[in-house]
Amino acid sequence: MIIRKMRHIVLLVLVAAVSAQGATVTLTFHQHATRNLFQTNAAVAEQISAFSLAFNQDISALSLFANVGYSAFHQTGGLSYFAADLGLDHLVPAGAKSAFYFAAEGAGAFYGREYEAFSTLGGSLTGAFKTYLAPSSILRVQWQGMYASYADSLFNFLSHAASLSIDKYFPTRTTLKADAGYGYKYFLHPYVPVTADPLPEGGAVVMGAGGGGWGSGTGAGSGSGSGWGGERYEGGFGFIPRAGEGGAGIGHVSVSVLVAQGIGDVVGLSASAMRQWIVSGENPFMSIEEFYLVPNPSSDAFSWDGLQLTGRITLDLPWSVEIKTGYTYSDKTYPGVESMGLDGLPLGIVRNDVRHLFEARLEKSFRFFSLFLAYSHIDNASTDPLFHWSSGYVMGGFQWNLPARRKGGLS
């Protein structure tokens, strides 16, 4: 049923792409290989082929954008998913040096039966303002509100995030940038009712909403438990909800600074630091899990408190070749999520992950398309042994701008 609907959307986008003059149409294909799809100590190898078609068309002062994609997981077929989004955006100048930007977008992702709990429909509204305070200084304010409804209502949420940034460019080719942000995420159904069954030794067995999540808990309003490591989502074992009632929202504030430096025409350097604090609430789930390329609703920018440091080098070489390398250190604590031993017993400490991420990307542009190859390596040390892991990820692919009708495209 979903596949049939998606065929119609793909057809619509293709027809629109062919018929539209002055549109931007981009086809991409990415091939991924990993030895740790679920990012746990029980490594599961996987290969993923991801296709996407993006379409952008100006309609008067509005811009219509659409994107459809399909990601095929070759070993864990249940994780294969369609994703689509459709929206309108609008740029409103406020004088020659400033502009407002508004966007409305609807998006959906549809998974197979085994991971259907992740299937979602939602929408977002974005508003932004950017102005040149001076030719060398930019002020930007942005707000985004989101709503998402999942097949497993446990994950349903409303959220909003606002940020303010200011930067300054110096004649030494140095750019300094400071950013402050605030975000709040409200889960609409974060808890399942407390079970009336007698507590088994060490905690409670909790039947999950929407098809049978279960795990161990320590009582109403709180809980503990390790995740299932992704694989056990299959076959109807859902996510691990906490039992009882409690605050359903989690809020954070953040500050970040960035320094960027150009050296000659070839080298670009940047370093940034970000500190985020959870200022209200905590995670309503007993486990935080990340899957490679799959947006796991338990883990996002709202779930952690901590520090992130990033350094990057970009080399802009002759023959349209670009090399980027980067290193990111992060130290993240997940309030409300207790670490568990591999024996299933709580360790009495809030989960904390220290991660080292190395990345490199090589890209070559040709006349009609661009090719790239990327590699990432992660060392993740966690107070929850299930999430103590190390692995590498390889990705390659191409991006092709499909021809529109007129020579030279728009303009």
Binding site: A61, K97, Y101, K130, Q142, D167, G326, G409, S411
Partner: protein
């Protein structure tokens, strides 16, 4: 069959859309008039460039070794995607058009600054931009490269 019925008005609307995107005669990306440019950004403005589209980000660039200024046309939504400042040194490739009064305008295809290259159009001149603040779409990986 029912889905085909609702497709008809949608396709009709899409077929009508190009009329809104028509551009001024003579102002288009001509690959036969490609030039390289290099200089310092002196002014950044948002200007209406084409009928029926959002205003474009336009740079006034003082060319290296000359006092002459050239106008470099970037893209519509890019104003929100990347931050470029007055005083920054830029170079790139674009299609040159000269007005009757001798003013020179370059429709940029590629822009290099701060050691990075931004591809605004492909080598045939077709636009590559999309988005606004959200920029690229598609599956998210960790990191930012």
């Amino acid at each position: 069959m029912r889905w085909k019925a609702w497709l008809i008005p949608v396709l009709a609307a899409l077929a009508a859309v190009p009329a809104a995107g028509q551009t001024a005669p003579g102002h288009y990306y001509d690959v036969d008039k490609e030039v390289r440019f290099e200089g310092t950004v002196r002014e950044i403005v948002l200007e209406p460039r084409y009928k029926g589209t959002a205003p474009f980000l336009v740079l006034r660039v003082e060319e290296s070794g000359q006092k002459a200024m050239v106008t470099v046309e970037i893209s519509p939504s890019w104003f929100f995607g990347e931050d470029i400042h007055g005083g920054e040194k830029v170079k790139g490739i674009g299609s040159l058009a000269e007005g009757p009064d001798g003013t020179r305008t370059i429709i940029a295809r590629e822009l290099q600054f701060r050691g990075e290259t931004l591809t605004l159009r492909d080598k045939r001149g077709f636009p590559s931009w999309q988005g606004g603040p959200k920029g690229r779409r598609g599956p998210k990986r960790f990191g930012g490269l």
